[in-house]
Symmetry: C2
């Protein structure tokens, strides 16, 4: 698959794909006779991983570190790899906990709201919710 097709499948630009390759996120692809990049499903999977990591707030540098776990395991001891993995997992767990707080706040707001055609100002439960000072939304 050429760069245009992969870009379309991932809904990103070809520039972004070349940018990620240049900055060491996406592994180098094969080239055909005329120098075109030829991508495999493995590259697509890798890109999906990168894009998913981005949506949950990892920087490209952090994503590189996540991807590097795989590489490092060839050079480091099992113990070191395990420690790095657990450390990254903790960051992921912390993020999940944050999001669950958001989910709870938004659920409270949604549940409190009658959903009718009246102006939200008049919704007394919402006003009550606003008074609860552990909810900031």
């Amino acid at each position: 698959m050429k760069i245009g097709e992969l870009a379309k499948r991932l809904d990103i630009s070809t520039d972004t794909l070349r940018y990620y390759e240049k900055h060491g996120l996406l592994s180098f692809s094969e080239r055909n006779e005329s120098g075109y990049r030829i991508y495999s499903p493995k590259h697509e999977k890798q890109m999906q991983f990168i894009l998913r990591a981005k949506t949950v707030g990892f920087s490209l540098k952090e994503i590189q570190e996540l991807l590097a776990i795989k590489v490092e395991k060839q050079q480091h001891s099992c113990g070191e790899v395990k420690q790095l993995t657990l450390q990254k997992r903790q960051i992921v767990r912390d993020k999940i906990a944050e999001l669950q707080r958001f989910e709870k706040s938004l659920s409270l707001l949604a549940d409190a709201c009658c959903g009718g055609p009246e102006l939200a100002t008049g919704c007394s439960i919402l006003t009550t919710l606003e008074a609860a000072d552990d909810i900031v939304i």
Copy 2:
């Protein structure tokens, strides 16, 4: 509380606080006689919300939209506010789902790893894991 103290409590710079105010994220604070910004615990809560939202990958623009739910409820119908809230909650739920996939992948890696002093290359379970093509880490 003056800007320096709030910045210290939040572990960010005073510049960032002024930047957020200027860009409509943090509500305006009171000023004392000499023009210094004076912040309340409410401002601190709002900032904590903003910072939490940032760690889970919301852009400042998206955070503004989250904060705007509160404002909009004075101008829109309960139904509109409810719809916006549910829409934002869905984004949060999607992010949680992504992170849970990461958590699972990292847990599999960690569990598979013996954690001993041997080179990770020799860890056969890791090699097996690498072959599983639905896990990209």
